[in-house]
């Protein structure tokens, strides 16, 4: 009884789908290759993955700003492009870390790379839509892949990590679904641009204030879990510890970028509508998060766990920018992550190359501080690079994270939140302590044990990644300008 539906190819704007399709197709190619010949070496898959990601990158960067595609499900605005680019760059940096000199379980699976590419596609979908369904499905695709990748490291800690992450993720998914249901109930739509319109009309209805606030809370719980905001952060240290170092580094960046994009879209909408309560909620959560995580990081005995807490703190730090709801604030998020990415991945890569299969230094930890004691005497170059990363994370100029930090703080000041900037500053000072602790161990202490080389896992590709990260960290001052102007252009173009 229905008329045939006529849809023109132009109106579908399929190009908006191209980046994700490339990643998915790449994943399928890897699976098929494995079916054809199961003896192929992992280096092939690594390079293939990188190539696919490069093509993906090319496809993404070629997208036009502010296009919608496929019945308005796809949304290619400025932040979707830049976040996709960041995701792809981080993934490209991550991939070569598979080429360690020692063998680790997950890389023996070609499926690892396929799952990885599906995960990237999932994140890309997540950021490239304002439809809660697609966001949810993308999120779950990525998350399910991620759980698997964690578990594939194949040792007791990684199962534990996967289970914790998975279970809490399932609960968060419940909250996301419920939040979407409330939004849907309020507006009859789950596409944020429609939601915003309807909500704007309904804001005056006092009876449904609770529902509006409640919807934001439920969505917040789900996103805060992903962003590891207090008190939804509890999984993060354990999962980082259980996962392999590169994956932990990856987790501290890519899922957060993707979730931040969603958060910008969702909470930006609420704040734009004038629901100040949401802004307050975000501010309170972020301030608590950066502070508590910092304090807990102070007392860690393991570098990786410390970095986990530090990542939580950084996430809180940057999430605060959402509450500002200014173009600068939003730009600062991406600037920060663009700069933080290299440093943090570099730091985790440094941990990765120092990873032993047997724990020489501590019964529980892979990377206790003692392991790095006196590193300056053993491997001066390694110590210096690690120290650079630590100083950068601590926000010492002129290293990369500093520029992100002042840009965020400037955004806070500009938006009238001077107190927030001061809190950020003081938190950075506290944070400096635990980063310094590692520097102190490396430079100021004598080696504890005379075990074989600390950088047990070193290989040329890893050196290349670390070298790249180092260069990016040190020379940030020279590329911040183009980065800022690009980000600012993209974000203001998409109206945030």
């Amino acid at each position: 009884m229905f008329e045939p539906i006529k849809v023109s190819m132009e109106s579908l704007n399929l190009i908006t789908l191209a980046p994700m399709l490339i990643a998915i197709a790449g994943g399928l190619v890897i699976l098929i290759l494995d079916l054809i010949n199961s003896k192929l070496h992992k280096s092939l898959y690594v390079m293939l993955t990188i190539l696919i990601l490069i093509v993906d990158f090319g496809a993404t960067i070629g997208l036009n700003v502010n296009e919608r595609g496929f019945f308005n499900v796809m949304l290619i605005d400025g932040i979707s492009i830049i976040s996709q680019l960041l995701i792809i760059v981080a993934s490209i940096l991550f991939t070569p870390l598979a080429l360690t000199s020692k063998r680790f379980h997950e890389y023996s699976y070609p499926e690892f790379f396929a799952l990885f590419l599906f995960m990237v596609a999932g994140f890309q979908f997540m950021v490239a839509s304002d439809n809660l369904i697609l966001i949810f499905v993308g999120l779950e695709t990525a998350s399910l892949s991620l759980y698997t990748l964690i578990a594939l490291h194949n040792r007791s800690n990684s199962y534990e990590a996967a289970v914790k992450y998975f279970t809490m993720g399932a609960l968060a998914a419940g909250f996301f679904a419920m939040g979407s249901a409330v939004v849907y109930a309020l507006t009859g739509s789950i596409e944020l641009y429609q939601v915003a319109q309807v909500l704007a009309a309904r804001l005056h209805e006092t009876e449904i204030v609770l529902a509006i606030l409640g919807s934001s809370v439920l969505l917040m719980v789900a996103l805060a879990f992903k962003l590891s905001l207090f008190p939804f952060h509890t999984w993060a240290p354990d999962v980082y510890e259980g996962a392999s170092a590169p994956l932990a580094g990856y987790m501290s960046i890519v899922p957060k970028i993707a979730t931040l994009v969603v958060a910008v879209r969702v909470f930006g909408m609420y704040i734009d509508l004038g629901v100040e309560w949401v802004r307050d909620m975000v501010l309170i959560l972020t301030v608590i998060t950066m502070t508590i995580a910092n304090l807990m990081a102070l007392v860690q005995e393991d570098v990786k766990r410390m970095l986990a807490y530090s990542s939580i703190s950084h996430a809180g730090f940057i999430m605060a920018a959402i509450a500002l709801d200014t173009t600068e604030g939003t730009a600062s998020i991406f600037l920060y992550y663009a700069l933080f990415m290299f440093t943090n991945l570099g730091a985790f890569a440094m941990l990765w190359i120092s990873r032993h299969k047997v724990r020489h230094f501590s019964a529980r930890f892979d990377h206790p501080y003692e392991k790095f004691a006196g590193l300056i005497h053993i491997m001066p170059m390694g110590a210096v690079i690690m120290a650079l990363f630590m100083l950068s994370l601590a926000g010492v100029p002129p290293f990369s994270v500093f520029w992100g930090k002042i840009y965020v703080m400037q955004a806070a000041v500009n938006a009238g939140y001077v107190w927030l900037a001061i809190v950020m500053g003081l938190n950075s000072a506290v944070a400096a302590y635990y980063y310094l602790k590692l520097v102190v161990y490396m430079f100021l202490k004598e080696p504890v044990k005379d075990v074989d080389t600390v950088y047990y896992n070193l290989s040329k590709p890893l050196m290349a990644v670390i070298g790249l990260a180092t260069v990016a960290t040190v020379t940030a001052i020279f590329y911040v300008q183009p980065l800022i102007s690009y980000l600012y252009y993209m974000i203001s173009a998409s109206g945030y």
Binding site: F2, S101, A114, L115, V137, L152, M178, G188, G214, S459
Partner: protein, 189 residues
């Protein structure tokens, strides 16, 4: 009228069944009640005119998911009573109660607005499956395909995680390193 009876009946039953799922010490009871509850939920879907959804609910949940769970239950040998050191009941009821209270307060409000126009309206004359089909394969084709990828991921994940290859871990085995690899950078010093 029928709708009302059905609603209250289904509501009461699902609440009880899910309570059993949550409270029971026995996996078998919990799972059975979960399955029954899901069947009743599909009943809600039918009341609400979402026939296709009801069918999918029956097939996927009651059929596939519960089957998976039963296999898992057998694998884990979890037919015995479960001994759990549960979280203090007071905390659970406090949190559960509070959340229920706030959510109920939220939903008790006149959340429904007549002013809202349906974007993808249900056509009264047509079957639900047709309506769903048209929307799913136009507007929601992309999510649908992504869901396919997601299922593929789930499949691969299930296969490799449960596979034999996971039994032996290269991550912990230092003996495999010697034969490796082209990319070795020997002696980092």
């Amino acid at each position: 009228m029928y709708e009302m009876i059905a609603f209250y009946l289904f509501s009461a039953l699902t609440i009880v069944l899910f309570l059993i799922t949550v409270m029971s010490k026995n996996v078998l009871y919990a799972m059975t009640s979960l399955a029954s509850g899901m069947v009743l939920i599909s009943g809600f879907f039918f009341i609400l005119g979402a026939d296709f959804l009801g069918v999918v609910q029956l097939i996927v949940y009651v059929g596939a998911v519960m089957a998976l769970y039963s296999f898992a239950m057998m694998f884990f040998d979890a037919t015995r009573d479960i001994k759990e050191k549960n979280t203090p009941a007071s905390l659970i009821f406090l949190l559960g109660g509070l959340s229920a209270l706030v959510l109920v307060l939220m939903f008790a409000a006149p959340i429904h607005s007549e002013a809202i126009q349906a974007l993808y309206p249900i056509h009264d004359g047509a079957g639900n499956a047709q309506d769903v089909g048209i929307v799913l394969f136009t507007k929601y084709l992309v999510p649908f395909e992504v869901a396919a990828v997601m299922l593929l991921v789930a499949m691969i994940a299930g296969i490799i995680l449960a596979g034999k290859k996971m039994d032996q871990s290269l991550t912990k085995d230092t003996s495999v390193d010697a034969e490796d690899e082209i990319l070795i950078q020997k002696d980092a010093k």
